[in-house]
Symmetry: C2
């Protein structure tokens, strides 16, 4: 294979067909490096005609170079995936695959950079439109589709608290520090306060991929997992909106009223985006219900995928947040439309969304590594980078710990209001969880993609800073997460009971789970080590969300398993029940037990618990009959 | 939803944020047309701040426009798929979905064209690199993966005959006619003979999608299906190589020796490309066999997909034919690697390849329709278009009928050599099949993509001509195929027995088919109307290819079912046997019966039958034990 590459490159170089680019391509490879397989050879033997007639803008020449660029990129993806397999297979936890992905990207990026060719360098350069239009949507869609809905909505209060005020605090603190630093005049960087806030927003988007894959492999307590996951999903959207708001004020003098204008705009964006996602999800459910399209499952699968993407691009096109729309579209589709699909489409959508998400996730880190060297306009300022890195730690600290304490305080207050003495109310988010959440503040590609849109004369320096800081956080925090988990004594080895639809039940006929799994399901998904092996990657996801739980089992689990947060909630959100249930046999919500899981800042204000009950009833009695295709009867037929 | 769009558009227009482009976007929609949902409104109510600070090159503005472009494209895809469903559901055969796709594309293309905006027009313009790097590979990969290997290799002789000399004759005839026409001086188009040949090559690539979807819905005789399918797959590759060869001679005076040089180059390209595909396919099989990667099926699925794509880009990068490599990589993967995959990966790869291929197929026609109006450099010359359209009919005629007769003559000669009297030897390809093959000569997007690479001053006129002729052939030939099938009295309603792995056996455990299905399988896949309903779209494909057949069943089928080509082959290629077979119980090849199916021009010369036997033995005794993961034992375990 290698010799064929060499001949191919020789072929181009010898004939001089593609102008300087081709010749530089043939020259650009360091022979000592085995990763980059670009052509280099001097041996003359192609047997092909030589002529000098094609110019550089020839589409054929571009074709060749884009083929090589894609080949290199896919080769890197293969390497990353293979490394991932190898690390898992050998149970190596010291190095994480994302760190390796960045490393591979950097090595190949360096080779491409030091070589004189420019076409491939241009082709593999980080483009924010590729990121937002191609790489990000599959990850968000899969997150929504695979979301453990019960866990997510049980912790929605904490998630929103960390995602909205948390990100806001983080961006403000970071912006203020950077503004003060630049005003000190140590570096020749001038920026207005709004620009500093924009950089703050850029560096406040945390990345879910690395930390969650580590959590998955350690099977960390689903509560912590869900909070970090939800926060990192939503704060991407929030950072984007904040960033865009700041960019709109770029060049104008920021007034104090702009502050509230910005907040109002953000809330409107968030609400409308959520509505777009819900509407599209419900639309898909209705289309599937009221048509015979399930007889043509290939078309059905395509349509489900296309509709989901439509919500994203529509929302982005309307200047709303595509991420929020797509997330809620995915959640709604899984909650309603999924049960109207043919079996084939159910499986196909799951597999396809997973595959696309996995490829995107792996590729994003390679892309980051590549762009460290292939981005030409970077100006690295070491002091600024160090200051920024320290600042993001400070800003993360300023966001996580006060809000964690606030959530705990609200939980305690609420417990007291319900007549429980303070000692009976455990912390909603104990200190070690807060610490872990601080540690989980890796920055990701969203920040880099946003930084591409920075304006002003110091853009190159800021972009370089963001890029380096992102890579540093992934390497430093990502590389030490496993150690921190142990140091902080965080509960690991928690296994979910219901992991249906993964590879092991493809072959089994589709029988609805017995009622006991609906009612007897452990609220925190902790089933001590049984079923461990079969949990696989979809460990934290479910298709048959928890509906309502058996208090006695809860108590059992509480007594035997929970040490430091023993009295976890028992009657939290029973919304988003499984499809097998009908409104008739739903267990009544246990109203007189203390409820604290959904007791985050916002949820308290809005008294989410009440809404949850109202929504559960509405869902059972109105939405499901309207949206679902008479599912309980269908399941009985299948029996 | 519509009002949200309107608000979004208003939002841009009112603030004038994105310069002229945004304003034109808001103006550009014809309100009478419901398809295009681009924003247009005058009602003022956004509640958002207005400022004029962002410039046109802002990535955020590009983001918005690319979102709209993608939204429109996905919306068209949804419409096309929905039409496809509707036509199938209502059993409407008069209009074909591809014609509708082109029509939708044209309508939206026209709207985009007459509106003053330029960004969306640029975004949806036909780009040959998108076509070759994104749209084409999934179709080719899925074709290789879903190929009915037994049928394909049984008819390889005829396929290669039509694909290689056929395409060559077609391109030559078309090139000569066009050259003579331009020399007449009726239009102000000057081109050299080599350029005319390049155009001829461009318009000799036939498109499989439309015709084969009609054949699928009519369940046409698999032999005709396979020949047309194989021809259209391979002649794309051949046209590309011919085109590139011609472009290399562009501007030079063509010598007679160039002719042989071109042929030599083509054969080398074809051989090396095939080898690349085979090597990658075998590599995948070996990697899957010798690793534990099937324990991580998500990674496994990604790697299989990536490796297949690597073969395509590697081959293209080496100036070889990516199409040929990918096709043979798909075939090899299905023949060996498929049986080393985990069950989940088997299903996931099938679904994913199918989904990607379906989306690409639908999109290509939309893209063609769009580009009729969004391509700015087109110069339409009606007379040239008519002349070209007539010429492609002549050139197709000149390719199909003489070669069909040649294949029949060789078959008869071979029959006579084996001691059969001429009346006993039926035509290999009867006249009605030849006529259908002539009719199946629709031109597709490969031609348009190649025409983008044309050089010289008459490029705009030629590109316009190619585009219009392609659309015309799809509408005229594609629209009348169903009628032609009936007029020509071609066998329809043929159903394959083995259609495993489609949606109906997801739920069944994976049990190998009983031996009788291997040995008793009808060579032409004709099982009279039983099992009709369950055949579905994967009708012509198989997972457990025919291995060797029972002569008595063959005779039975021959007596009862075949009318006009009653004595079809009985001991043709028994290559590519199913995996469940072991070398021990293989039925011996029936050497003394007449063999004619694999008796095309090339196959005769190479005496494919002998090779087939040799290869089958080699495959059974060497390749399978080396490449497969001890499958027969594994299947027994599963029992």
């Amino acid at each position: 294979m290698a010799s064929a590459v060499i001949n191919g490159g020789l072929f181009l170089a010898k004939r001089g067909v593609f102008g300087p680019a081709a010749e530089s391509l043939a020259k650009q490879v360091d022979p000592a490096d085995p990763i980059d397989e670009e052509p280099k050879s001097d041996s003359p033997d192609t047997g092909l005609p030589s002529d000098d007639n094609l110019d550089e803008t020839n589409p054929m020449a571009e074709e060749i170079f884009s083929s090589w660029a894609l080949f290199i990129v896919l080769f890197l993806l293969c390497s990353a995936l293979w490394s991932s397999y190898y690390l898992q297979q050998k149970r190596i936890k010291a190095i994480h695959e994302t760190v390796l992905s960045i490393f591979y990207g950097m090595v190949v990026g360096l080779i491409i950079r030091i070589s004189p060719g420019h076409y491939i360098q241009d082709a593999v350069k980080f483009k924010s439109s590729y990121f937002f239009n191609i790489l990000l949507p599959p990850i968000i869609l899969n997150s929504g589709y695979e979301l453990h809905q019960a866990n997510f909505f049980r912790n929605i209060g904490s998630i929103l608290t960390f995602a909205i005020p948390g990100t806001f605090i983080s961006a403000m603190v970071l912006g203020i520090i950077l503004y003060i630093y630049t005003k000190l005049g140590i570096e020749s960087i001038g920026m207005s306060f709004v620009d500093a806030l924009a950089v703050g927003a850029t560096l406040s988007a945390t990345d879910p991929v690395t930390i969650l894959s580590i959590f998955n492999s350690y099977k960390v307590d689903p509560k912590l997992y869900t909070i970090i996951f939800g926060e990192s999903l939503l704060n991407d959207a929030i950072c984007i909106v904040m960033f865009e708001t700041c960019e709109k004020f770029h060049g104008t003098s920021a007034e104090f009223s702009s502050f509230f204008e910005g907040i109002g705009m953000f809330l409107m964006t968030f609400t409308i985006s959520t509505i777009i996602g819900l509407v599209v999800g419900i639309l898909v459910a209705l289309v599937l219900k009221h048509s015979h399209i399930r007889r043509y499952p290939q078309i059905e699968t395509c349509l489900v995928l296309l509709f989901a993407y439509e919500s994203y691009f529509f929302s982005n096109g309307c200047h709303m947040s595509g991420i929020v729309s797509l997330l809620f579209c995915g959640i709604t589709m899984k909650h309603y439309a999924y049960y109207n699909m043919s079996r084939r489409t159910q499986i196909a959508t799951k597999y396809i969304f997973q595959l696309l998400a996995q490829l995107s996730e792996n590729f994003i880190f390679i892309y980051l590594g590549l762009s460290l060297f292939t981005e030409v306009e970077l100006v690295f300022k070491p002091v600024l980078i160090i200051v920024t890195f320290i600042s993001i730690c400070i800003s993360r600290w300023a966001a996580v710990f006060p809000l964690g304490r606030a959530i705990n305080w609200f939980a305690r207050t609420k417990g007291a209001r319900r007549g429980l003495a303070p000692p009976a109310v455990q912390d909603e988010i104990p200190y070690n969880y807060q610490m872990m959440q601080f540690w989980a503040g890796l920055r990701g590609a969203v920040g880099v993609a946003l930084a591409m849109g920075l304006q002003g004369e110091s853009k190159s320096a800021l972009l370089a800073t963001v890029l380096v800081v992102v890579v540093l956080t992934v390497i430093l925090f990502g590389g030490t997460t496993a150690g921190m988990l142990e140091m902080l004594n965080i509960k690991t080895g928690c296994v979910e009971e219901n992991t249906s639809d993964d590879e092991f039940d493809i072959e089994a006929p589709r029988v609805p789970p017995p009622a006991s799994t609906f009612y007897g399901k452990n609220p925190n998904g902790m089933i001590s080590n049984k079923n461990f092996a079969s949990a696989s990657a979809s460990h934290y996801t479910d298709n048959v969300p928890t509906r309502s739980r058996n208090p006695s089992q809860d108590d059992l689990m509480r007594d035997t398993e929970f040490e430091d947060h023993a009295q976890l909630p028992a009657n939290t959100l029973a919304s988003f029940p499984g499809p097998g249930s009908t409104s008739g046999n739903a267990a009544p919500p246990l109203q007189d037990q203390p409820s604290r899981s959904s007791s985050g800042l916002l949820s308290n204000i809005l008294s989410v618990d009440e809404h949850a009950k109202w929504f559960t009833n509405f869902d059972e009695n109105v939405l499901k009959p309207v949206l679902l295709d008479n599912l309980p009867a269908k399941q009985n037929d299948k029996k």
